[in-house]
Structures are given as C-alpha cells and as structure tokens.
Symmetry: C3
Subunit: 635 residues, 3 copies
Amino acid sequence: MKRTLGTCYYPEHWPRDVWEEDARRMVEAGLTWVRIGEFAWSRIEPEPERFDWGWLDDAISVLGEAGLKVVLGTPTATPPRWMIDRHPDMLAVDRDGRPRKFGSRRHYCFSHEGYRAECARIVKLLAERYGANPAIAAWQTDNEYGCHDTTISYSDAARRGFRGWLEARYGTVAALNEAWGNVFWSMDYQRFDQIDLPNLTVTEANPAHSMDFRRFASDQVVSFNRLQTEIIRRHSDAPVAHNYMGRVTDFDHFKVGDDLEIASWDSYPLGFLEDRGGADSAHQRAYMRQGDPDFQAFHHDLYRAVGRGRWWVMEQQPGPVNWAPYNPNPLPGMVRLWTWEAFAHGAEAVCYFRWRQAPFAQEQMHAGLLRPDSADAPAIEEARAVAKELSEAEDIAPAGAPVALIFDYEAEWAWEIQPHGAGLSYFDLVLAHYRALRRAGLSVDIVPPAAEIPASARMVLAPGLMHMDAALKERLARSGARVLIGPRSGARTLNMATPVPLPPDLPEMDVLVSRVESLRPDMPMPLAGGGCVTGYREEIETAAVSLLELEDGTPVAVRQGRTIYMGGWGDAKALDRLVSLMAAEAGVPVTPMPEGVRLRETATERFWFNYGANSAECPAGELPPAGVLREIKAT
Amino acid sequence: MKRTLGTCYYPEHWPRDVWEEDARRMVEAGLTWVRIGEFAWSRIEPEPERFDWGWLDDAISVLGEAGLKVVLGTPTATPPRWMIDRHPDMLAVDRDGRPRKFGSRRHYCFSHEGYRAECARIVKLLAERYGANPAIAAWQTDNEYGCHDTTISYSDAARRGFRGWLEARYGTVAALNEAWGNVFWSMDYQRFDQIDLPNLTVTEANPAHSMDFRRFASDQVVSFNRLQTEIIRRHSDAPVAHNYMGRVTDFDHFKVGDDLEIASWDSYPLGFLEDRGGADSAHQRAYMRQGDPDFQAFHHDLYRAVGRGRWWVMEQQPGPVNWAPYNPNPLPGMVRLWTWEAFAHGAEAVCYFRWRQAPFAQEQMHAGLLRPDSADAPAIEEARAVAKELSEAEDIAPAGAPVALIFDYEAEWAWEIQPHGAGLSYFDLVLAHYRALRRAGLSVDIVPPAAEIPASARMVLAPGLMHMDAALKERLARSGARVLIGPRSGARTLNMATPVPLPPDLPEMDVLVSRVESLRPDMPMPLAGGGCVTGYREEIETAAVSLLELEDGTPVAVRQGRTIYMGGWGDAKALDRLVSLMAAEAGVPVTPMPEGVRLRETATERFWFNYGANSAECPAGELPPAGVLREIKAT
Amino acid sequence: MKRTLGTCYYPEHWPRDVWEEDARRMVEAGLTWVRIGEFAWSRIEPEPERFDWGWLDDAISVLGEAGLKVVLGTPTATPPRWMIDRHPDMLAVDRDGRPRKFGSRRHYCFSHEGYRAECARIVKLLAERYGANPAIAAWQTDNEYGCHDTTISYSDAARRGFRGWLEARYGTVAALNEAWGNVFWSMDYQRFDQIDLPNLTVTEANPAHSMDFRRFASDQVVSFNRLQTEIIRRHSDAPVAHNYMGRVTDFDHFKVGDDLEIASWDSYPLGFLEDRGGADSAHQRAYMRQGDPDFQAFHHDLYRAVGRGRWWVMEQQPGPVNWAPYNPNPLPGMVRLWTWEAFAHGAEAVCYFRWRQAPFAQEQMHAGLLRPDSADAPAIEEARAVAKELSEAEDIAPAGAPVALIFDYEAEWAWEIQPHGAGLSYFDLVLAHYRALRRAGLSVDIVPPAAEIPASARMVLAPGLMHMDAALKERLARSGARVLIGPRSGARTLNMATPVPLPPDLPEMDVLVSRVESLRPDMPMPLAGGGCVTGYREEIETAAVSLLELEDGTPVAVRQGRTIYMGGWGDAKALDRLVSLMAAEAGVPVTPMPEGVRLRETATERFWFNYGANSAECPAGELPPAGVLREIKAT
C-alpha cells in the first residue's frame, strides 16, 4: 500500500482564478489528497432551499482534473445563520444554562431533532450529487466532534432526549431508582419526566445520574454521525472518515468508529503541548518547538484502534497555530518527523492543514503550506522532502505490537465524575503507562475494552478501568499474556456503585481493595527500591507475591500467576520498574531510550525519532534534533 | 454524667434482614446512640400525602429493642422530587441568579413560605407519631444548615422576605435611607418594594445593604429551625439538637442554639484541614493524616457555647471521606484521639458517621465503621477501645476555663463585606488567637458577644469585633479580667458606618484609631523584639503604655489599666508574646506546648493529645503519635 | 498661568451647619477648586419631575462666597432608583448575559435611548439653572466613563444600536460579509437584524465582528458625552471636562476629548500599583507606598494629549484607598511628590479626592484631606506645603518633548481580540517603551495616531500599532525624526484581516514579516550583546541593517534610513539598547536614571522625583525618599 500526503483547501475562500494554480502546486509538492467543503454550507445553500452548486462542481472538477483525490466534508459543523431562524432552540446550552450563540462554529446541540433533519437533508443532496463523482475518493462527516466542549449540552432538546434514553434503558422509573441508589438523599423519582440534567445541583449529583448522562451524550454523537454515514453509503462507495481531535474524550470514539471505514485525527503537536498534554512547565519548555514525544504516538495508536487498522492524520500542523496559549514555530525538521512518525504507526495518509494561510477571520494566525501572500511557507519544503522519501522507499509493513494497552472512554467519564483526589485523570494515568512503555522502547497496540486481546500481545496493561465486566475479566484471565490491572480497576458497577464483593474481584487472583485514599500531590509515598505512589493509593488484602512495597513493607503491586495488581498511582520511576519486571517475565526485550528519543517497530523496520532539541545517540546511530532514522531489522 | 458513643444509620439503605444484626453489632461495639431518618422523606412519603410509616416503625422498634437510643432526624434537608412539582419556586437561587436544581440535597430556599408549610406538616406527623416513643431519646432538626453554601439565596422568595424584614426593622424607607447612608451615589429608595438583594450590582453594594441582607438570611435559618422545634416540643419531651458544620458562619449559631437543648456538630478533621482550615500547605502536609491540632478543639469550645453547655459530636469522621480535595487515611489512633478530645472538651456523646459505608450514590467513598461488604473497617476497633476506656474511667468533670474568647457571627459578616485587604478573615483572626492560647497550654471558653463574661475568666480576648455595642464595652470594662481588644474593634456602627468619635471609643481607655491600612501578605512590618504585624495595621493615637512597637517605636499594642488594645494583625510570634504578657499579668500559668501537642484541662484532669506524626515529650510523659494521656491533677 | 489645587466635596453628605467652616478650611489650606454634584441626582430630583434645588443653590453660594471656584458635575453616573422603574431595560448586561443591578453606580447602558433622554433632561435643567452662575467655573460630565467595566454592554439596547451602527458603516450586508470574511465557517448573514453581539459564542467570534463591536461601544461613549456637552455649551461659557481613569482603554479617549475643553483624570498611584500596573510582585513590594514610578507620568502625558494641552488631575489620592487588593498608607511626602509631578507634566490643577472621609457607604475606607471626625488627615499638610510652594515659585513653562510616543486605543482592542500569546497586551508594550525612555531621563509627548508628529520630536516610537493607515505611514516617513516601528505594526487591515502584501509594508523600508510566533514567558530568546526577545517574535525578510540580533545572527531590529523596525517584544534591557541607539543617532542627550528616580523637563527647568524608598544621588543633588528637586536649566 502506498502512503500518501494531502492538504485541506477552501476554494470558497479564494478567487476563482487561482484554483488551477493552487491545484498545480499541490501536485507539484507531491500531494495526493485535498479535503474540501466541510465549512461551506452558507455558500452551498445561501438561503434556505436556494442552492449554489456551481462553484463546488467547478472546484471538484479543477482539483480532480489536476490529478488530486478529493475528500468531501459534510458541512454540518457550521450551520448558516438562517438555520437559527428556523430552529432557534437548536443551540447547545452550557453547564451554566446559557445558550451558546451563533458566530463561530459547532453551534448545535446533538439532540436537536430539527437540526438532525436539516443535516440529513444537506447530506442527502451532497451524496446524491457527488456520490458517483470519480474525483470524490473519500468523505468526511462533520468536523471535530466534541471540539470546543460541544459534546455535552444542557438544552431542552437534550433533556427530552435523556428522558427517552433513560426510559429505554430502565423501562420503569422504579428500576432506575434502584439502579442509581436514589434512596440516598430522597432522590427517588416517580416519573421519567421529572428527571433533569445533572448540572447546577446544590452539591454533586448522583454519580449514577452523571454517568448515564455522559453515556447518553456520547450516544447522541454516535447516532448523529450514523445518520450521515447511512445516507452517504446509499450513494457512494468511497470510504467515510471523521476527523477526531487530540484528547477529546467526551464521546466513545470506538462506537463512532464502528460506523466509519477510516479513523482520522487532527494532530497539532505544539498546540496540544501547551493546551492538553497535562505536562509540567519544565517538560513544556524542553519540547516547546517539538511537541510531547508521546502524545502524537498515543493518538496514532488510539485511532488505529478506532479505525480498526485504517487511519489518517486529516490535519497535520505545519507551523505556528492560532489557538494555544503560546504558539511558537516548530523546530526545522519537525513537520517531516511528525509525518514520518504517523506513517511508522500505520497512517495511510497525512494531510497538512491548511494549504494557504487565511488572511481573514478566526484562524488567520494559523500557518499553512503557503503564506497568505501565496509564497511558500517553511513547511512545504519538508512536505516535499517526505513525498520524495515516500516515493523512494519501501512501503511500511504493519505488525502487531508485543504490548496491548486498554483504553476505555467510560473509565474516563467515571474518573471525571469521581476523581476522589483533585486532578486525578484516567487519561493521564493511561498516558503515564504509555510513556513508560515508550521509554522502554516498546511498540504498543491500543485496544478497546470490548475487543479481543491481540494475539501478538505478550503484555497487556489495563490500568484504571473503573468498571470491568465479567467478559473482560475473563478475556484477560485467559489471554496468555502478562496482565497489569489496577489501580481502581473494577471499582464500580455498571451503575457507578461500589461492587460487593469488593474490587477488583478477579477470577484468577486473590486480592481485595479494602480501603482507598487520595493524597496531596506534594505528599508522595516512597517505595522501597525507588519510585513513589502519588495521588492515589489502595490498601489491599492479598496472599499474592509482593512486587513493589512501601518502605514499611506494605504491598503496593502484587503478582499471582501472570497477573499483576497495582494498588496505587505509580510515578514514572515506579512504572518503569513495573514495565521492566513485566517485560522480563514476558520475554519481551526492552530498549531504554535516551531522553527525547522514541522507537516504533514495524514488521521489517525500526523507526527512530528524536524529539529532543539536541543530538542523541541511539543504537542505530546518531540522531540530530528532529531526526528520523529508518533501520531495517535483521531477519 | 456518662459520656456515650453512637453512630448514624440508614435502615432504608439496607435489606430488612440485616437490621437486627447491625443493631447487635452496634451494641457490641459499645455504642449507645443511633441517629436515623434525616434524609428519608421520599421513603416516608413516596407521593404527596401517601405515607409509608411501616418501615420506620419497624426500624425504630428493632433499634430500640436492641437497647439503642434513637436520635430521630426531621427529613427537611431533602425534599422529594414531587415537592418541586408542588413548589417550583422553592429552590434557592445562587449569586449569579441561577436556581439550584434538584438532584442532591439542601435544594430549598429558607424564605419560601410554601416549603415552610410542608416542613411543618411532615414534622408534625413525625412528632405526633414518635413523640412518645420510648426509643426516641433525642431529635435532630434538618441536617447541616448552611452546608453547600445554602444559607444565602437570591430567590424571589428571599427578595420578598427581605423587604418585609427591612420594613419591620426600619418602619419607614426614609429611616432606612438615613441608616444606610443612601445619599451616597444617589442610592435613595422611595418604597421598600424597590429594594433588591445585593447581588450583581455594578460594583460593590452599600455595605449596610449587604449587612442587613446577611442578618436577614441568618434570621431565616433561625425561624426555619424554630418552626420545627415548636412542633416537636408539643409532642415530645426528648431534647432537640441540630448538627452544625465546621466553619459555616453564614448564620448566627447562637440564635439557632437558643431554640435547642443540644448543640452538635459534624467533625471531619482531615476534610476540614484540606478544605476550610485556612492553613498553608506546609501545615497541611504536617497534619495530613491527623487534622489541624486546633480546628476541632475550637469548634468543640464554640458549640459548647452554642449549646449553653450541652453539646455532641453528631458525626465523627472514621476514615477517609469523599468530599475534600484530597482524602487520606487517618493515622492509626486518630479516631480514638478525636473522640477523647471531644469528651475532654465536654461532649456528651460522639457518634461516628456512618455505620456502614454506602456502596452507591454520592458518598460511597465516605468510610464507615463497617466496610460496604459489612466487614469491620479500621475505625470500629478504635471506637471499641474508647467505649472500653469510658466504661473503666471516671467521668469527666467540666470546669470553667481561665480564658474567654469572644466569637461574633456578625463580625464575620462585617469582615467578609469589607475585608479592606484581600484574604483578611475574622474567622482566621479569631482562630489565630485561639492557636496562640493553645500553644501556651491554656483551656478556653468561647463566649457569645451578648453573654456575660464567665466568672472563671481571668483573661478575655475580643479581637476583630467590628461592631461593639455599649453594653459589651461596659461588660468588658467591669469584668475583673485582663482584656485584649483590637484590631478593628468597634470600627463600625450597627449599620456598617464608621463611628464618630473614631474607634474603638472605649470607656476605660484613651486610644483612637486615626488611620488604617492593609498590607500585602509578603510585606509584614517587623516588631521590635520579634514577631510582625501582617496584612492589617492601624495608626493609633494614645497615651497608654506601649507593649509592642514597630522597629521605629510606633506603638502597635498598648495597655491602660487591665485593657490592651492591639492595633494590627499579629503573626504567631506576636500573638505568643501578647498571650504570654497577658497571662503573666493575670496570674494564669502557661505551659508551652511541644509542636503538635495540645492540652485540655477539666476540673480534675489534664488531657494531653499528640496531633504530631512523631512522638513528643510533654510534662506528663511521652506521647506517641496520636497519643492521648489522661493526667489526674494534684488537688 | 497659575497652577492651582482643589478638592472634591459632597455637601449633600454633611450637615448644613458645617458647610461654611468646610469652605473656610479649604481656602485656608490653599485650595482654589471644589468639585460637587456628580452623584447627587437623587437629592436634586428625589422623585421623577419633583426637584429640590434649594440645597444645591445654597451650597454653590456658600462655596462661591468663600472664594472657591466650583466644578459642577452632571449626575448621570448615578441614576436614582426610580429611573429603573421608568426604564427597566436601561441596565447594562454583562458578558454572561446578566443585567447589572441597581445598588452602586454606573448602572446604565450607554446605548439606551430612554436613559439618554433622561440625561439630556437633567443636564439641560442644570445648565439652565447654573450656566451663568459666576461661581461655576467649570463642568464635569458624568464620572469615570468605563470604570467598573461599564463601557461594554450586551443588552438588547446595545444589540439594536450595533445593528444600526453596522448598517451605517457597511450599507449592505454583502459588504459586511465581505469585509469580515464571513465565508469562513459559514458565518454569512442575510440581514443586519441577524447579527448578534459577539459574546457567548462557542469558540472565539470573528475578530472583525469583535473589533466592530468594540468600535461601536467606544462610539456610544463619545455620543453619550457629546449629548451633554452640546447642552451645557448652550447655557455656559465655562470649560467642560471629564474625569477619566487610569488604564481604562475600552473607549477612545481622544474622540471623547475632542468634545471637551479639558481632560482630567483620577490618579490613585497606590491603588493602580496593586490593581492595574501589570507589575510583578517584586516591583509592587518596592513601590508599595509610593506607586509605580512611570504609571502616573504616562497618564499625565496621555491626558495632556487627550486634552490637546489642557488637563487636570481631578482626583488625587491623599491616603489609603478602599478598593485595591491591599491599601497601604503612602510614604510621607508622596502626596506632595504626586502633585508636583502632575504640575511638571503640565497639569493646570490638582484636586484631592476627597475633602472629608465619608463615614458611611461604599467608600468609607477612602482617605480624605480630613478624617471622618473632621480632624486634619496627614495629606492636608502636604497639600498646604504645595500651595505655599506654588505661591512662591515661578510658573511652569511647558515645552514640546524630544520624544513622541504614539498611543492608539484601537490597537489596544486589536491586541485584546487577538493577543496571539497569553498575557500579551498593547498597553503593557507601550508602557514598556515609555519606561525605557524614562530610564534614559527623556521627556515624552504622547500622540494620537491621527495627529501630526510634533515638531519638537526628534524620536518617534510607534510600537504595536496593529493597524496603520497609509496617512500615518506617510506622516512617519516624512517626519524628520528617527522612527521606531514594530512589533506587529500594520499587521491588520481596518477589518482585522492580514494585509497582502504582508506587513509592515512601509513605503520607506524594505522589510517583510514572513512569520510570527508567540513564546512562553519563561522561554525568552537572548540577543547577542544583551537583552532578550520575550513573548512575541517575528521572522523578518529584509535587506536593512541589523541593530539587534539573536545569538545565531537572526535579525530582530533593523534600520533603513531613519526608520527602525523591531521584530519582537524586547525586554527592558533590549529596549534600553534601542532607546540608547536611537537617541545617539537623533542627537538627543540621555540621562540614565538611578533606580526609582525620574526626570521631567520643561522649557526652563528640570524636575527630579524620587519614587524610591531610599535616598538617591542624581546629577542635581541628593534626593530623599519622596523627594522633589526643581532645577533651573542653564540658558
């Protein structure tokens, strides 16, 4: 298979007379794909039911004739202003009860039936018109679901939808009262239509109430997306993708992904470093112009799972962006490194956002491959270099990784609803484990909680899964791999209650969490032999073998058979020790990485990447800053 | 009198078939009291006017027959969902104007007349049914008034109530305009119905307006509570209590207490350390598993005053809680220490919250005496130890303390309304004085501002009383005790105006505060001889003797006769110096405490407590961490 | 011309029988001016259309007969409560959509037509009654426009006004769509009445939308003020002033100033140091009792420009204030220093706020010249000293400064709308340049962006002007002065778009900003030879001569002819180097200042001021703390 490059283009932003030249320069730069259309509703349908298809027909034709493949986006992330006149209550409502106004993008509530009908209408028209167009080689639904905190809405439409969702789930209100434990604090309901959304309560709402609302909100994204894919498929054979974001966890991407052929995501390494990485400021300083060495790779592996193997980077940062607290230039070479890293993790295509920097509106400080004056911006040269390298080298051969890491969106919601200690986050916990694996030079497959454990996995890590159903426990127990479970695994039933018998209640292991505590971040508990438990710790009753202990001998991590239970949040050193122990027992060789260097293995190669700002020595040779080294494995 | 233990129990949370066993285990653990019912409205009256008394009759019978004494709570802190259908406007409204929704607890506005009538109705039914039941040995009204910031509401009901309250207070709007100084900024009113609540003003509201609103809000709690006590008393001779919280100061507890036989409070030492202690992080680290060494004792002494001698701990933390930013395990022994400390300060009973940890809903991370799986949790063993010790030892003999400390809820509101410097808080000021007294080993009686000075007091501390009426000044002047007044004492009239002549205007002392300033916390002003003034300082004109001076000789604390005026906020060292000076002159012996050790004297004993995490030497011997030492006084 | 002193007085606050004595003491203290009336609406018109003029007639008479000149304020900043009954929708609405309630001051929306009519009515009555009164020597409109964040309102009245303003500006909605670039994100409008205010959008609004809203909001202040001045002028020949605040930049003061004879401002050095100076805490500690050494001077120079030469300090801080986070006493001597500094910068009058400290309502902690008990407060002695010095010395002779610094309110809004890096502020950038000039001992004239460059200027600094029209570029190019431009100059068109050709697009200089980046504040980029670029940096393409370079030789500041372009935000050291280079080439002698010392030159004198808390040596001799030294220049 041929890995390819692309870009994002907005013909409606530019004079008609530059389109051919733009297309020609794209092809000349080695690009294959061009994504268009996803924000163009007001130019396709300037007034309700009055359409202007001409320019879009024309643009697709120009791009197609230049030899480019078009990804056509549905424009549903930007309903035009007249839509608000038709559906004044379609706006999402924030946690404080305020409608989120027109004037930017994503100004809709996923639960609004009237807006869903409008989306079906426009998607049908697009699919009918372009479904058979040979230039249309893929589709994108909407744009960045959940971005700008838009998954969750407290609107009337959401309230109605939630009540229906609850009735479908529980059947009777008595069953809901029982499932939620509403006897506590006299929270019993008599009718479903008494149930409100869990915002603005006097103190925290019932966690079962909050959890069901989060599930409902996620399901609304799934069904909103499915509405579009079903229509497109009636008219087109081209694959359908959605462009997810980094660290957006408010909806279950695996479930949305089930309705798509391709997962894609929008990779902004420098923006995410400042805005979402959860890193401290020393780390942010060290990687200011390179991005976090693990954040992109984590999402590559995550979205490979979401796409069941097929995934793209739909938007790749090519220079400073406009939206992070600070927006520095990338270190020269990083655009190439980021691109190759995506390919090493299996991406089919990497598209740069955007072709030409817009000189107007919200994103005018967002770099493109061209400057606003159409001169080359620095990134285009790195894109050309990748295109050339792609054309000259062997294709990448994917391979299953020796390590599987389970990621569960519901666990993220559960930790958000009941963090127990300020600042504790499931995403950070999983990323901390991922970092430890990467510091050991290990390649990782991310696995949904409902999926089979991959055959290649000799180690499975499943930290922080607050709910584990019996089937998952069973799959872990019977996989031949070494398994790491905990902290907090199985700590809640499906309804956010504490199970009795107490967690983790593993079939293969004699361990019981008798009490849990959260700790100030400045009061870590040292382990004998190095490392700490920090933020969260469990008291465990067990007859299993101690692997890590507090300095007074209290067990923290214990092993029985092939399963390790970790009763606390380990710091980097503690996790390094755990990974090292597991890998040794699993017979998985580790390669300790120099600071900033990362390794990704395919079936035939080792890719080395240097995220550091200085040169680094690695077993395959010297890596300059932003260096990429492609090493053929001995066979 | 026999000091006793108890617990809080929710029979409605558990299967009927464990009630007898639970009761048996309570008795076996040495418990006397069991509090029930305070959140059970939805199970007593599942639908309006349809009652289910059976289970409650049954529960009281089971508990009573096991030999336990029942405290029956009125369920008015948790109106069921159908109540909101009947009174949609009964919800409190927050400062931003948003109704605080159903879905947790305390979702009512104290001013809503319709809800008050519902409360009277349910309390009457409870009192009629159980008033003569021999198992019912005490009552509790509602639950934790003011918790979750619920004293103050900006609802329509509160607005109506406030206007009526003002009319009753001032008679005419002209009198109100004059009292408030509404000529300033043209704030004059023509009619009472023009007066709004003081939220959302463009800049700060008139402090007189804010102060009257705070008084009104407090009075609404008082009358809400009195409505219940009057009904209960018609049907029951058992004493009535309310369970107050730690550092809730939005209503005048002395006034609520006037309508109750018993004051009680809910003591969560670890939660308060993180959440309300006002301590710095070094202090929080040092006492992470023990709690602040003075916070509990302060509230014990405060609520002894509120209860006019009769007081309980209604809820005692037995392990990690769920609601603080961080929720660590207590150091082994602390549950015993906290319990004995309460008794040493005169508590009649200490009840652990809760019997069994709930496996569902909001508080499932809150430890109990039993784990969710009914196994013993660590605290129950410490409770058993206390029960045994109680049964073996002499009863505690209360005694008046040599030091009186005045605490005034209105002063707290005055400082909140006009702190003058960011972060300055009356509660913190009083607690700082209390800490200094405790570091000197002194036992303290807290005294309401309207009460007589206790005869036992040879020292009286009255810091920060922004308003002092003539009677209080007179009481202080004619008490034979040494008296400490200031800073900011008498700085406001009843209507939050600056008095002329200028404060403090003391009959017995020639001192005048000519100018005040607030200081950055990082710019303390050193005193000659040690210590600092920090945050707040006064320029004083006086002919009195200087006790503490700035390094340039400017007087800070001065004495005339038996009265000291302190013209600034002293740091710990400055307050230690003041306490030491006063005690020496008053002939009160002091006992400097080792770090973390505290002393409480009764008529016959000295109780030593070690809040430190390490052993400490005290005059009575060595105290291990969490150690309690009971020393009989020489007679 | 005679420089004079004055004070602010509220006869309506005090008993009638002290007015004569107050007036006598004012005169005795050497005061000339007394400002009255600006908050007195409720006492002039206690009920709609019922007037009580007697007391005001009387007060003006008493003050006039004592020999004082009266500044009469229009009372429109404090509409009485009955006004809200007449116009319930006149309240401004905050960003969150909440009406800002009655109960303090400035509770009106500038766009409300009904309230404007009421203002016209009361101003007309005042002007008719007192326009010819010989005691009335000046007028003040309203009070502190914009204070308490009151320029911007999101009310219905503002929405209506904004739509009309847009229609007047653009004519057609198609022109607006084109100008704003609404094709981006389908933000096109079909009708003006679809356009909302840019608050509460899902993510940031179109910057062009925000910019036009900020212009509209500013224009509303201008027309609101003009409504009053036009009426006053029909009845009075006395000059009209407004009292602006420090660092209020939400409206264009130059445009308001065009309708007034005199600019004045309210100078609170200690309050501003804590609240608005943008200084770090070390700086705040060093100047805690003196105020920032440049903040007042900057505003003096700014308001001299706003007043086209005629300006006052209408309110001068005389002691601790009530509204800053911390409110310390001034160092003795500072009230005198602040007063003389204003005169050295050309003030005609300095009035102390207020005469007697009010013992009631919101500002009772705000010091006056008298204490609440009518005794002298410390400041009055310093005022007397200035009065005596004024009477004994020659008048100050104004002179054009050798340096001009351009300040543009629209640039401030542009940076606020698109700061690009967190915390970057145009005001701070300009102030940083001003500080560097002052550290070099240079006197400065501030110049509006639409004005001619003063003939005296041999150096012109124009940092951060995000929009520069062709005329301004032309004026700078043809001035004979050395000119400093950048960073970010000319980076936006009038409609907040990026211009093509790329900025700065200067006629006289070959320089192009090809890319910009923002930097973490803890990641400054060092310059060869000292200093740093911090926060914001540009890549420039140029053939001009390098003046400042990064350590790798990348140009940062370049010169061509007489123009310097600075491609980044220089720290203090970098700006000192730039100022030094420019001054040397311009032949302007510099005088490096000791820490805390500042110099202001007039035609005949050098005024030296010591803001430091310690004595300092300067060329003219030793300056004690708070010292003022008046040195006659050699001729």
